[in-house]
């Protein structure tokens, strides 16, 4: 994991803007072409496809402008860079967060959350194992008392 002295992962803002713009253009295209599956035709602005098509056009156009701005920044003089401090910790946290809903239905709430929270604490920089265990234990007890017993929320 990166320490305090590390600058982290640095990338030009134009690159991120271009990637986001391309992704949003893909979303706009998905909206536009997806309309054909439910467009009944002949109803114009009153139909179910009118609003999504309008949003698709506007989203596509504004994303194009964002993309053009990003490309201009990439080839032009430098602007504020995008910095991600402790990139490996952030990436590992993202992986753990994506894993949680995958593991939850398979192993149940308490075992999954116990192990997962310990891993997340380590990833976030908590190296004192005793404190980490106490944190996990307190969290699970509070969840049991508040969410499950007081509120009656059925946990998987």
């Amino acid at each position: 994991m990166n320490g305090p002295g590390h600058a982290g992962f640095v990338v030009r803002a134009g690159v991120v803007e271009t990637v986001v713009a391309v992704s949003l253009i893909a979303v706009a295209a998905w909206l536009w072409f997806g309309c054909y599956s439910f467009d009944e035709g002949g109803r114009g602005l009153m139909g179910a496809a009118a609003f999504p098509r309008g949003v698709a056009v506007l989203l596509g156009l504004s994303s194009l402008v964002l993309g053009a701005k990003g490309v201009r920044q990439m080839v032009g003089p430098g602007t504020d860079p995008v910095t991600v401090r402790r990139p490996s910790a952030v990436l590992l946290a993202a992986v753990l967060i994506v894993l949680y809903p995958l593991l939850l239905p398979r192993f149940g709430f308490y075992p999954t959350t116990g192990v997962w929270l310990l891993a997340l604490l380590w990833c976030a920089g908590q190296r004192n194992i005793l404190w980490a265990l106490v944190t996990v234990l307190v969290f699970l007890v509070v969840v049991k008392l508040v969410f499950q017993m007081a509120m009656g929320i059925p946990l998987p």
């Binding site: 964002l66 967060i97 976030a124 404190w131 944190t135 009656g152 929320i153």
Partner: protein, 493 residues
Amino acid sequence: MWHGFVQAFSEMASWSVARAMLFGILAGYFVGATPGKSSSIGIALALPFTFSMSPVASVVMLVTLYMASEYAGAIPAILVNTPGIPAAAVTAIDGYPMRLRGEAGTALTLSILSAAFASTTSTILLIFTATWMATVALTFGPVEYFAIAVLGLSLVSSLSGRSMLASMVGLLFGLAVGVIGTDPIDGVNRYVFTDSLLSGVEFIPALIGLFALSGVFVMIEESDLAIEPLKELPSVKGQFGLIKPHFWNLVRSTLVGYLVSIVPGHGATISAVVSYAVQKRWSRNPETFGSGNPEGVVASEAGANASVPAALAPMLALGIPGSASTAVLIGALTLHGVQPGPLIFVRTPEVPYSIFLALLLTMPFMVVLGLGGARLWVKVTQIPRPIMAALVTALCLLGSYAAQNDVFAIWTTVFFGIVGYILKKIDIQPAPIVLALVLGTLIETNFRRSLLSATGDPMVFLSSPLAAVCFILAVCVFVWPFVRPTPHPSGSP
């Protein structure tokens, strides 16, 4: 009116009503401070406890719970950037940066005092204007609703950070997400690739992802940095002094929140967004909104809490819900044999006047709890960053699951958390996306209903004077940030 108050007071002067009020306040605090629980869920959960109570005791309990939960949502929003209720997401925009500066106590104090002022003022307005204003709102058709929603959407220019383009992209992304689900008019499925999306992308899990989970990644980035030391919170007398510079902001935001919420369907979230945007317009330092300006906390809390009594106006006077929470309240009243509507003031006057009294009497207790609690709650900010980051993540995922009792809600939160984090890196903030999620369905439904009622004639949108005024206002509101004079660098006028 006075006869109604006397009757209500005699009904309320009992231990059973006092107990119900206390339970309502505590349960409301608990529900509001728990991410993923809206006030409507809290009222629904408390409903079975009222079966053995009198109509007055039960309505007092549920109304105080509603009021307390609308305030308490600000506590986790300020402390851990996780809105307890959707409206508190607006409070988090400036409340959380204040907490990062070590000013959590000030932010919490401002939030409770703003809530107290707005709620009390709004209740007085409710007492005197309920019937008249709700009758006006009843005359609104789809054209007027569409125009009001467009006016709301034009506020994106006020919510923009450094870049208007980024905000527009965020807004359109929010509208794109909002079209997923069953079409509100024809009932056809749009972009539904799993049954969990039939009712659309759920609002609370999306909100938790955009605001809270995206912030967790930032917490992990900064988890090796030292914690900002707490700034000294003044004495209780001094705490009251913190709100003095914000008096006109309070008045303005309360009125805006009240007027917005009296229109059925416009709940606390829209009130908070509009009040925040209006205050940003009036502020001498609009550029500091989003980075911990106390004016933002005051405006959003006043707007959101003014909406509680305002949403009760159409419920009491017309029997139609002003918000999701009042829809549940109507169900609760019906269970007790009380029919909301114009005749409630004639047949069971003790019920509406008990509500008025409960709203007024609850507030002092809430202020005491809020001011005292601020000293206790701020200790949370001294928890080491890694522990805080992990706990907030777990709370986010658990909160979104609790909102739907469905693992798919967690996927929604994860998606919006990661997307929100990436978008923030290029200054696309969550607020415009949330604005679009709130208003998207309202706009589309009323746009198409208007056209259907006029057999497709687009001139229908200019047929209503109120709608025309709203459209003109929307253009002015949208254009204003481009033409307003640049503020002085020092922030002075």
